[in-house]
Symmetry: C2
Subunit: 604 residues, 2 copies
Amino acid sequence: MADQYTNLDNMRFLLYDVHDAEELTQYERFQDYDRTSFDIMLDAVKDFSDKELFPYFEEMDANPVTYDDGKVTVHPQIKKFIDMATKNGFIGPWFDYDQGGIQLPQMMYGAVFHILDAANNNVAGYVGLTSGAANLIRTFGSKELFDTYVPKMLEGKWMGTMALTEPQAGSSLSDITTTATPQEDGTYKIKGQKIFISGGDHQFGENFVHLTLARIDGAPAGTKGISLFVVPKHRPQEDGSLTYNDVFTAGDFQKVGQKGYATTHLVYGEDDNCVGYLVGEPHKGLKYMFQMMNEARLAVGSSGIAIATAAYHASLQYAKERPQGRKIESSGKKNVEAGQTFIINHPNVRRMLLLQKAITEGGLSLLVECGKLVDKHMVVEDGKEKDDLHLLIELLTPIAKTYPSEMGKTSISTGLQVLGGYGFCMDFPLQQYYRDIRIMSIYEGTTGIQSMDLLGRKVTMKNGAALQLLMKEIQSTIQDAMTHDELKPYAEILTRKMGTTQKVLGHLMGFAMKGDFERFLMDANMFMEFASTIVIAWQWLKQAIVAKTALITGNTPYGEDFYESKVHTMKFFFKYEVPKTLALEQILMDNEVLTIQNEKEVIV
Amino acid sequence: MADQYTNLDNMRFLLYDVHDAEELTQYERFQDYDRTSFDIMLDAVKDFSDKELFPYFEEMDANPVTYDDGKVTVHPQIKKFIDMATKNGFIGPWFDYDQGGIQLPQMMYGAVFHILDAANNNVAGYVGLTSGAANLIRTFGSKELFDTYVPKMLEGKWMGTMALTEPQAGSSLSDITTTATPQEDGTYKIKGQKIFISGGDHQFGENFVHLTLARIDGAPAGTKGISLFVVPKHRPQEDGSLTYNDVFTAGDFQKVGQKGYATTHLVYGEDDNCVGYLVGEPHKGLKYMFQMMNEARLAVGSSGIAIATAAYHASLQYAKERPQGRKIESSGKKNVEAGQTFIINHPNVRRMLLLQKAITEGGLSLLVECGKLVDKHMVVEDGKEKDDLHLLIELLTPIAKTYPSEMGKTSISTGLQVLGGYGFCMDFPLQQYYRDIRIMSIYEGTTGIQSMDLLGRKVTMKNGAALQLLMKEIQSTIQDAMTHDELKPYAEILTRKMGTTQKVLGHLMGFAMKGDFERFLMDANMFMEFASTIVIAWQWLKQAIVAKTALITGNTPYGEDFYESKVHTMKFFFKYEVPKTLALEQILMDNEVLTIQNEKEVIV
């Protein structure tokens, strides 16, 4: 087992030095916080994770969640985690004080969950989804719904979930068939099935509050006929007691990773006794749910980077401690009389470690950036700045979900390779990270869905306004970088890539203008990879500017190596990762159509 | 569970139509075979695999190999497989008739093992390594060793292994420390440990013949002091009985994949009673072992493609049967009133399936090509042709091992994605393929080792003679393709890539000439990816020529779709995969050095 799973210095560097978390404390909403209180929180979470989460990471995999006759049993340590989260206000932490929240900035919430997830990615979801579900009720539900459910959820007694997916519909929410039949008392009778409901049941929840999508009888077809309901497992009675609400847990999916995280199959209304409570207005359920989905998408990106970060530290430690082979001498031979070297000194192992570092720290920087945008969006006055922040969040969310999921997977597979044969063995954690992360590019909208969202919705919305804003942000980073001779060449590369982006989009938009949307979106996944690579290059340039400045001024609290390494890894990303955009550009500009169905059956 | 795991039509197309297996039957060695006997063999193996291997694939994963107090227990079905292999001559099948072999061409051996591995990749190794070990004794051992061991091995009673790796040495064989102390009777006392010994022990072997690398006392340091020994688990006595030879099975590694395949830890000579028998001359062990390693490397490539092939068929079937979502209409909206479409009709799913097909059928074609080279090398007279064949095999082996391992992994991960959430569930086989294939880029020399072998040894050997031969082969394919208008653009791309290869190598060789070998080999992995992509593009162009000709002549025994699909997938490979070489070219031509150790500590 590795000793370490993340680097708090790096987290502080990103929070304070690169993305200026302290700026937030100037706003009234966050005025009770300062850097000291943030640091205390990070240290406390790290300490808890060291003692109560990381040591159970392998155990939760070896002894997965079990299901027996309607009962789901999870690892006892989950209880300890829920209690800690409750005590520290980590359920709905961004809620107003008078709603039971601690008005925590999203940036810090992200940092806290990064640490928790890196230590043990089986646990955070239980609390994270409860926060998200409570937030939906808070934002769109009635006061009565809020008062009935949210306080119990924030106390960690009742758990929340999001219940979207159905067996016959999958990603295609327009095809959900769960029904909601209006009752005279204003409630609805719910009937249907939901699958893949994370944290949908376990022995530590007194109740489960399922934020459920369903169709009211007679609703229009498609996504316009979907409404959102609170469907508790147990109905709260006037006297405060609970009565079973006919939400049966029919199974727990056995998965190849995240085995400590329950993934349930729910059956509503088998006995025609399942009551749902409408949230907000009818037929607006999907719009409401998307608020939670966006949060959840950032959370998935965060988990992906956290798992890949833990894997990076495990393979880094191995590479530093494992003697094997010798360095190649100028003769081209190895000197067998010389002592063994540590494998970190072999160029290919170094390349693999730098790739892991480039992906994980680049991805984390983007997530911290997104957290800051969410926070500022929350506190700035209505107006153009707020609208702009919203646009940027919308544009960056699919990237911040997908890059960590896809490249995190590559990063971990690379880390496993560093260990050679041991990487494939159950005695080392790399194989578990390799399995765990595989769900991230599927959760909350697959990479295919995210890519269509990015190209088909986000890039085009408001005539490309979001993209213009992002370009401006990147341009500003480029300008800062140009003041350092060492960074100039990379700033110039990024400038050229901005131009390529315009060219590629111009080409693709041509198809959209002609009304050929299938062709427009045909290679959306390639566009996602292209855009993500450029966005992460931007994040690396940002980090390098701060690091370079620190080296010049001599203000290097994390040690000179830390800052040198940042500049070096930026160069690595530009050398080894940015060139991918050449290939992607060629694919995206190519006019050959090979993946749209035509008369010929071309896959056999 | 999927219904199918490979496509025999595709195997026949590659064997007979693309690579002309029948040509071999003109040679005396193979004259007892013809297309009919080949086909009967393929059908019989498929039938056996359908009934006895594929149905146990998931079971062997769920109930892995167990170890208890020196005893290794594998799934009972392994016995059935060993019996089938023995009965059909599949242990050492390329041996001469008078040595107990069936003089089977390597091409057919490869085809047989492709089917077996695709059906269930836990089993073939037990027999494959026994063949390889027997072959080492046959080639380099004394008649006495041959007579004592080989017949029992070919009868499937005694199993063979290759025992190289030691805990402290890993990939660095120069550091192995297992000792061999000469005894008066000409035998050696063996003492040491070996790890990761595949098939190293189980209840179905009466004896295990470990082809073991060790150092004779006083041997020179490094690889020049390594000798090869037959070290049986039980020593055969003059009367035919067996006596325990102090080779203790100390454990079975628990792995994340291939859980039905034993991976043992062996301890030799704990009681100072382990006898080894020298194979060939002292200090030449590594050279001998490399014969087996090259076979084993092709076998690993073959397994990689086989597993990825099975995954392809599983996701293809799912995509054809799973209705979900709708096609995008020209309005850019989905028509929710229309019926659901099958997911194979979504461009992104189609792209994912075509990527799987392009990787698996391209990789398989290369392996069939290599099989043919091995066969021809065996039968042609000594002279230039034989030398040339040897050079080509040497050059292509690291590619034929690495492309299937690395891109097979990508292919399977893509296949898992096709299934969405179900891909992550244990009820579907994709997650098992995803785990199983992960070892292939580690077995028999990691991708890092293979890449250094390709660039540092194979490309440079005999002043680049092997590369010249390969270029000539590719040139010949290009010329054939130029006769078809539809294929011409792709032939031209390949011509340009030949030029790029020369340019890149010219640049890299400059470092070797200056004696800077660390720099020369720094990005060997990138060169491997670059060269592999071009080699597989060549294999696709080869296939497309044959398919196009079939379509023109109307001689389409596998159905027109089959041939259309081949041409289409070739185009797909050139559009989506070949552009990677642009990025790799840029990386390889870049003069920035970021992965060679220098004074600064740049990884923190």
